[in-house]
Symmetry: C2
Subunit: 460 residues, 2 copies
């Protein structure tokens, strides 16, 4: 028995030594029990016992069907420590926090939303005054599980306008667009599942998916949607559970999905169990509506989500999910379990604002202003050697390439010290191949000082 | 080799048979490799191989440091299918959905909140009118990552009032109290971890924890807090990561934590890595403040959360977390990743309402009304043979026992068909030992028809 005990400790010490020397890093699979037994000339039960003790100590962990792993950074879950550690400058959370934290007089061409002065302020004030006079239940009670019926009615009609039949019972309100995607991830994903995203994509998709401890695989994005060959290859190679994308106006490129890409993509998905989340948050910015995956698919495998934070107000939180009715049932349970009653007052205010006669006019004016800002921003960027990848048809984003040899993360660091918040490309890129790209928000790029700071930093 | 192969299959078949016969249900730990080898008279490596094949087939899963388990139902995550399947009547989600869905003229003594007419309606109307006149940023911009500073300032002062020093940087706003707990669970827990709850406890803790796929262990709740011996035993037996409780007024019993229990509980926790979440949602209902774990502990291992949905309005969503500063950092990242910017407008409205001179008067009147409603409800329940476990000092809940031989789930079903929503005891009980208990909300129990329906159903 003593010798058995000693042998166990030898195996344990060997594993510990390899971890200490960084030969084995967190997440790495250690040799199988059998292989280790052979390698160390001990019995299988010795190795098993050693591995079990290391599991008890939290050094190893086991995964269903695939053996023993060096325990990853365990709870507490620090998002900044999951996945390869990036420069904090291109960490997805860096841009969010910079944009949310920096004082309101900082210049924020990297920010993902419109300046407050472009939002539907008059409509919000009016909606708040109206809601102040609404009945007691509206003011004091929880929402029903699916959420404020008049807003769902409005959404059902709006979705019909883009060719999507979604009855009231298939629409659930959420606390935000991000919250909508988060609920869907909780519903569909388990740690270790694979999720496809566009490369580049909205950087917070990376942060959100990290929180679900899933594998993220990027698919190259083209001017008309994801690269179909790359998409087919990723489906085969990774059997992903989910694909998350923006149709309409794509973040960060400003590109739009074409009908032919939408059709091919759904045909490819036919032979898989893939679920697709279509984030339609920028729909109201379009001049001409692009195809929607959800409309082509009829809410079979596509779930559409959206919110009002980019058009009405970011200060009030409200989003939605449109999906198959049996999925909505489970999503409602999850919503109640994790946030309890939804924001009835928020939904009521949003509904008042968005059905206000002034909303359509407000959005017309926003689209017009964005078109003008797009032209002037692109011209000013080109003048200092920053080239747009494509000039988008609509929306607030332009995805731009730096002069050769320039690094966007270094530029972002330099500009931040002069009070300009940029959005460096690799925060959007799962493959980290966008190191010379930046996303500009044309609505936040009107100030001449931005170009002075950029020019100076590029010259340095 | 053939015999070894046959033996492996015998072990596999045995496990499969026990699962098929429901002897082993999802989440159950199967015998250790050693114990199974002894029981089936085969070698350890035979059992290991059998278990590994069952893991590869998704039948078993392994957890760090604690062996092999029958794999739970996999994604999609249907909360109603996690854990032992209950009567839908005592499913934690059943009460939530009944209370949230049933038309507002139904009688809801089982509901967990005040009637809308008891809420701070005048304050809400005034706050909405004020906010309608606030500046553009308040109306249109995202909140800062920690949330609306004036509300955090208010909370910091209020926490100081119960003996808890929490500077502004240690307070983060959330979308609700439930959202606060959910974020903490995401931060601290991994699937398979163990969490202690009070037995009985707020039923939505069960639903929320199921969504995190953790093991839930109940600790008997007494008139002065959790049973300290049971708590000590659970700490030893399960090395739980988290304990979630209400101090102040306990849901569903209405009991209050005593200073001696608080002190002993924290002393026990000293020799463990346990984190404690103290849900202080009912603090404003107390006549005399009970001890708070967070105040005794100084926010070392205790995290305090709360919200305003029980006192100001349930229609507007806003909660908070007070915790160690390094934990707040990670919680902010998680909040941004999963919900992005918080509800600035909601926090602003809540801050306006709660700092309104009328709020204190409003709460005084609510406490007075609750005290009267408690007396009359208890008297009326006793008249039909339903006995309070204890008569609470404050709050809206009384936890009551049915006459011998009566089943609360059956009673709930019978009363629902007559338009009365009850809260049967086992929804609150992890051990399912409260089958003859009901939680009554005295503020929702004023209507004489409730007692007629109850009496008839009890007589049947």
């Amino acid at each position: 028995m003593k010798r058995h005990g000693t042998r166990i400790q030898t195996v344990m010490a060997e594993i510990q030594a390899r971890i200490a020397s960084r030969t084995y890093t967190p997440g790495i699979r250690v040799p199988s029990v059998r292989a280790m037994a052979q390698a160390m000339q001990v019995s299988v039960s010795t190795v098993l016992e050693a591995y079990e003790r290391l599991m008890a100590e939290g050094v190893l962990s086991a995964r269903r069907g695939s053996g023993f792993y060096v325990a990853g950074p365990v709870a507490p879950l620090a998002l900044t420590e999951l996945g390869p550690r990036l420069d904090r400058d291109v960490d997805p959370l860096w841009i969010s926090r910079q944009a949310l934290e920096t004082s309101s007089d900082a210049l924020k061409p990297g920010c993902g939303w419109l300046p407050a002065s472009w939002m539907f302020e008059a409509g919000m004030r009016k909606a708040l005054r109206n809601v102040a006079r609404s009945d007691t239940l509206q003011l004091a009670e929880y929402a029903s599980p699916l959420g404020h019926p008049p807003l769902r009615q409005f959404l059902s009609r709006r979705l019909a306008g883009i060719g999507l039949q979604a009855p009231l019972e298939q629409i659930m309100l959420t606390e935000s667009g991000t919250h909508a995607i988060d609920l869907i991830c909780r519903f569909l994903l388990q740690p270790g599942d694979t999720v496809l995203v566009d490369d580049p994509c909205y950087f917070n998709f990376h942060a959100l998916l990290k929180a679900h401890r899933v594998n993220i695989v990027g698919v190259r994005y083209t001017a008309t949607g994801p690269d179909i060959d790359a998409f087919a290859a990723a489906l085969l190679a990774h059997t992903p559970r989910l694909y998350i994308t923006n149709s309409g106006i794509h973040n960060p490129t400003g590109a739009s999905l074409s009908a032919v890409t939408a059709h091919r993509l759904l045909k490819l998905a036919d032979s898989s169990s893939l679920v697709i989340v279509e984030d339609d948050i920028f729909g109201d910015f379009e001049h001409t509506p692009a195809p929607r995956l959800a409309a082509f698919d009829g809410l079979a495998r596509v779930i559409q989500i959206g919110s009002f934070s980019k058009t009405v107000s970011a200060s009030i939180r409200c989003g939605y999910i449109a999906a198959r009715s049996e999925w909505i049932e489970s999503l409602v349970d999850l919503k109640i379990a994790t946030t309890f009653g939804g924001g009835r007052l928020a939904a009521n205010i949003i509904h008042q604002a968005i059905t206000d006669g002034g909303y359509r006019k407000h959005m017309e004016s926003v689209r017009q202003r964005l078109a003008e800002a797009m032209d002037s921003t692109v011209a000013r960027l080109q003048a200092i050697g920053i080239k747009p990848w494509r000039v988008p048809q609509a929306g607030m984003y332009t995805w731009c390439q730096l002069p050769e040899g320039k690094d966007a993360a270094a530029l972002a660091r330099a500009c931040l010290s002069e009070g300009v918040v940029l959005a460096p490309g690799n925060a959007f890129s799962q493959s980290m191949t966008a190191g010379d790209f930046l996303r500009f928000n044309v609505a936040q790029s009107g100030d001449a000082r931005i170009y002075e700071v950029l020019k100076r930093a590029l010259g340095a």
